[in-house]
Amino acid sequence: MLEVEDLHAGYGLTRVLEGVSLSVGAGEIVAVLGSNGAGKTTLNMAISGLVKPRAGRVRFDGRDITGLSPPEVMAQGLIQVPEGRKIFPNLSVRENLELGSYRRAKPNRARNLERVFATFPRLRERVGQAAGTLSGGEQQMLAIGRGMMAEPRLLILDEPSLGLSPLLVEEMFALIRRLHADGLAVMLVEQNVAQSLEIASRAHVLENGRFALSGPAAQVAEDPELKRAYLGL
């Protein structure tokens, strides 16, 4: 579904990604792991169109989407739930969710809103509240719910467990598993190695802008190289 080929990206004189290739198939969970500063978020931004790649190709469903703007990318059904949630703090929970279908799946807005509320009953309780007043976990639910409103065909989740309590982290991974069971393809970008490898079918470990390790998740989990690449030991 998603194919990334030899992607290079950076900011100004800084080179962040130096040739990254990966693919996510239909209905698959692929984990991209790596420590802070390895280039995970830049990879997402380059795929979503927030950063223009310097070289390489991004294809979605066989269509070349390299260098398209974020609205053009998301219109294809490639939806990113960004790191730090990036919800609209001054808008209500309902308005945040409704804007999730600003460009895509607008005719199904009411039905998808019900679906999100069924998945996250907490959001229904807080529907009129300004999103900025939600707790961290609720904000993460809102960010994912907003992504679901666009009827994603592939969901990129950037650090969904960041800043959540251990209990909520469990809940988050259970949720990703459920979304996957419904047939959604997921690219999971995480620092949380153990749990990510548990639910992913394949995994890549990013180190200094390159994949230091790639393969089936079970195999990556056993690889002694993982600890070295991830902890920089």
Binding site: S48, G49, L50, S69, P70, P71, M74, A75, I79, Q80, P82, R85, K86, I87, F88, P89, N90, L91, E95, E98, L99, G100, Y102, R103, R104, R146, A150
Partner: protein, 292 residues
């Protein structure tokens, strides 16, 4: 300081409120652009001047009453504002705030001197039959053009409030104001929203210009007087706050009117800037509790 009978003071307060609503409308455009694009638009005054000349030409060449001229001028100025942001300010600034400052400043110089070249520095005004008419409210006499200005300014603010709160475009504008990246990721074209916001701000000026013209003159620098007051209002109401701009406008209108009554007409604006300095000293986030 003299003391006046209460009905004179009440009349001054009411007239201040009426003028203040139009001030608020000018400030509304300024605060909206600031709140969403996070830039101070130094061309705001020149664009108001341009709109006042637009209304003047509509009257002198096409024989349109200034109030009727609102109908063609609003879409024209919306398109103008949209184009200026999309094709001049946006590309020229390359995302750098200090560049935007210079671009809008440059734009105001070009506009003012263009108007000076076309219309000369003469002060012009329109003659409308209702200019001197008054509305009697008990013992008080209120200028008819000011009453109309008050009503229309409130109507525009109400429409804006509904658009921002109830439509997808309005929600997109508010979303972009606080979270550009998140907005781009839900498929909002941020550059388009910037241009729409600038267009709305400029359209507000077109309405304000048509409301002012029946009781105010126009010359190539007239907008600056209003925008100086509008800056005060924007700070007073909290930068970026729409209801703050309107309330701030009313407040400033009353202050100007009362200080005109007590200190004399030519010193009317002293009160405004006295308040401005006090607010900056003691409530820098504005009187009406703007959220950070």
């Amino acid at each position: 300081m003299r003391s006046y009978p209460p009905e004179i003071v009440a009349e001054a307060v009411l007239n201040g409120l009426l003028t203040g609503a139009v001030y608020g409308l000018v400030a509304l455009g300024l605060t909206l652009v600031y709140g969403v694009l996070h830039i101070i638009n130094f061309a705001h005054g020149a664009l108001l001047t341009l709109a006042m000349y637009g209304a003047f030409v509509a009257w002198s060449v096409f024989g349109l009453d200034p109030y009727v001229a609102i109908l063609p001028l609003v879409p024209i100025f919306f398109a103008l504002g949209y184009g200026v942001q999309r094709f001049v300010i946006g590309p020229a600034s390359r995302g750098d705030d200090s560049n935007i400052l210079l671009v809008t400043l440059g734009l105001s110089i070009v506009l003012e001197n263009g108007l000076l070249a076309i219309f000369r520095s003469d002060t012009l005004s329109v003659q409308v039959p209702y200019a001197m008419e008054v509305v009697e409210l008990g013992p008080m006499l209120l200028g008819f053009p000011r009453v109309v200005g008050f009503g229309v300014a409130f109507l525009v603010a109400l429409v804006l409030f509904v658009v921002l709160g109830m439509t997808d475009t309005g929600r997109a504008i508010r979303a972009v104001a606080k979270e550009r990246t998140g907005a781009a990721l839900v498929g909002i074209d941020v550059r388009h929203v910037y241009a729409v916001t600038f267009g709305i701000g400029t359209a507000c000026l077109a309405v304000a210009a048509c409301l002012l013209l029946p009781f105010f003159y126009v010359n190539p620098r007239v907008g600056n007087a209003f925008v100086l007051v509008a800056f005060t209002i924007v700070v007073l109401g909290g930068m970026g706050s729409v209801p703050g701009a309107l309330l701030g406008g009313l407040f400033i209108g009353v202050v100007e009117s009362l200080s005109g009554l007590y200190f004399g007409e030519s010193l009317g604006q002293i009160g405004i800037f006295l308040i401005f300095i006090l607010v900056l000293l003691f409530r820098p986030t504005g009187l009406f509790g703007a959220k950070a």
